[in-house]
Symmetry: C2
Subunit: 400 residues, 2 copies
């Protein structure tokens, strides 16, 4: 026999519910070079500091090779934890390195938080729409989702009342340049959110992969910063994926010590620890303030790319289409007129070698609007942005 057998296997209930992700299938199609893809969530490789990372790996292996290649602490490489704690400490808020856990990308934090909080049937609050990857992670632990209403300003804090939040384990929020909408919560909503959650005893998971990629508007304080004085429990997720490079798979969790302590036990069972060598190389890269000179260059790339797409939308999309104008990050969210099904639009777009992600998979509830779509602008050259948006505009047709 030359192939592996597949005798009867009994999978777990959670595994039986798994279906291939819609985005995953789309991304396979968009690997063809002729496709103009606005579907991906890849950061721009223009922003990767290749020479600096190359030098960092080399220095680490030249001077601390045996440490870099050995097992490490589950909590993470101590100097990197200290760096993160220092970087996040602000006037009036000191983060202790013991409140920091290094993880293998933020996605791993979502998995571990699912393990930490979710029993089958537990209520979990998410924005409508929310990050698809978080919904996938949490879903393995079989929660019952409760969508929190949003409007043009993002999540509506006033919607969080005792009934909606009853028995909820946490609320999951992306306050900056949200994936998929690109929306940012203003200070007033942030303040209202942390105050309500404090009053309701509802932990907040603040996922902020894009916060450093702000190219317009004023930086806002994090939910972690605002939450502390009012007694909210905030678990903050950060990542080096967008400020350095995602292929390193490095992120971190900042949380109260009792949460970190449980997460460390969970991480030990999950993958022992994150690769020592990547942690040390990233620390070596950022320790002397490299990001202060690097980030402005990255922001400039994203701002330029965002501008290309906003121009093209203005030129080629019908008058009755609406879209967000992000102050940072990677995504624009488009709302087409009622009656257009963006799933069906995608089929026609792919036939003309243009791809995007329809809006429906970003909603936890079955009643998802069908006329939304997400556009990523960061890795596509200007002329292809224009061509791709023009094609989509033609397929959508003139407005009413």
């Amino acid at each position: 026999m030359d192939t592996l057998n597949s005798s009867p296997i009994t999978f777990s209930g959670r595994a039986l519910q798994l279906t291939s992700s819609a985005i995953r299938e789309i991304l396979k199609i968009t690997e063809r070079p002729e496709v103009i893809s606005f579907a991906g969530g890849l950061p721009s490789p223009e922003g990767f500091p290749i020479p600096e990372l190359r030098a960092a790996f080399d220095r680490v292996l030249a001077t601390q090779g045996a440490t870099a290649l050995q097992y490490g602490r589950t909590e993470g490489y101590t100097p990197l934890r200290e760096w993160v704690a220092q970087d996040l400490s602000r006037d009036g808020m000191t983060i202790d390195p013991e409140e920091v856990l290094i993880v293998s990308g933020s996605q791993q934090a979502l998995d571990m938080l699912g393990k930490l909080f979710i029993d089958p049937g537990s209520r979990v609050l998410v924005e409508a729409p929310s990050y698809l990857g978080a919904l996938q992670s949490f879903s393995l632990f079989e929660p019952q989702y409760q969508s929190v209403p949003t409007d043009a300003g993002g999540l509506i804090p006033e919607a969080l009342d005792a009934e909606l939040t009853q028995d909820a384990r946490f609320i999951y929020v992306l306050p900056n340049f949200q994936n998929p909408t690109g929306l940012t919560l203003d200070l007033q909503r942030r303040q209202a959110l942390v105050e309500r959650c404090a009053a309701l005893g509802l932990p907040i998971i603040e996922d902020d992969p894009y916060g450093e990629l702000r190219y317009a508007g004023e930086p806002q304080p994090s939910l972690l910063e605002l939450g502390r004085p009012v007694g909210a429990t905030v678990i903050r997720l950060g990542t080096f994926s967008k400020v350095l490079a995602p292929g390193m798979r490095l992120g971190y969790v900042v949380a109260p010590r009792d949460v970190i302590s449980k997460l460390v036990q969970i991480k030990q069972a999950t993958d022992l620890h994150t690769a020592t060598i990547t942690q040390m190389a990233v620390y070596e890269t950022v320790r002397n303030g490299f990001l202060r000179t690097h980030l402005p260059k990255v922001r400039e790339i994203y701002q330029r790319q965002c501008g290309y797409m906003l121009d093209a939308l203005q030129r080629h999309f019908p008058a009755d289409a609406r879209w967000t104008r992000p102050q940072g990050g990677m995504f624009i969210w488009v709302t087409l007129r009622e009656g257009i099904d963006t799933g069906e639009l995608l089929q026609r777009a792919i036939a003309r070698n243009v791809a995007f992600v329809p809006g429906a998979p970003f909603y936890a509830s079955a009643q998802a609007p069908t006329n939304r779509l997400r556009l990523s602008f960061v890795t596509v050259p200007e002329d292809r942005i224009r061509t791709g948006i023009q094609v989509l505009g033609e397929l959508i047709g003139p407005g009413h």
Copy 2:
């Protein structure tokens, strides 16, 4: 307020059951340099190919930096999957790269297999004793463990009858130089095991981190190789941790395509993918047959170290103590006379700056023998092995 709040949080049932691992607490103590520790499971840094890995990282970043730093496929870096498939293919058995999934160390494979197979209360078969880290991983999914009896030859295949295996989701086995016993299954037991499992429709998880570290006896065919012709479902776990370096966190799963397909969906939700850069650097290191010259050097280190400890045990341990004589790997398993409690022995040993791991945590059942202990010999210099074993011999006292 200057510290993070901890307002009331409701953890999941599985998180509430977590307790700090015994081994983890021991390892903390053994970080003191004056402690002679036989407790660790660290590979010898003498065996790390630092110059080769340094050159590999440098070549990858110099020539393929943008790829190495970008997101990658969940399945793993294609050339590395092809290399693993090729490396494991034998006369009469061809592994297809599509049957290989790259993971962030074998520990991650255990977590994902727990997600794939275990519902609360599912029966799971493990050797008595078994790898503690696997028990920790699986336990997060709340299985009901069933211990399979072992003797001086390891797992007893004849014990696997219809009653013992009824409704079991899988059996977890370490066939080579088992952790913690150091025992290896002979060919006859392997053959009997795969035949029984095929007949019972019981999937086998074959965990083989140490197989390449054989320094005595004849190499045995893997359960994967033996299982195919008889129709057994074998899921094989391998790792680069012991043949290259654990700080890279790189392992792999070989399994039937339907299992790999589900594991890919699970891995996407768990951490998207394993770091691209470490996968590419490891591929760059091993692609031209490096392990053929490197592994004999590693085996020689382990054989030498094992010899030091066997000599010291012969010299200093009482006549009524028994221990295994491993043909490879990192561990010796000691059985002391009835009545000695190795947990209590550890307290006295630590007071004299010697550490080991008591046997009880390696048993899934509550009725664990209390007179066993695990010794790791690979990272301790010869004179300290002799001193440490002498101290333990004194504390155990003369035999009867």
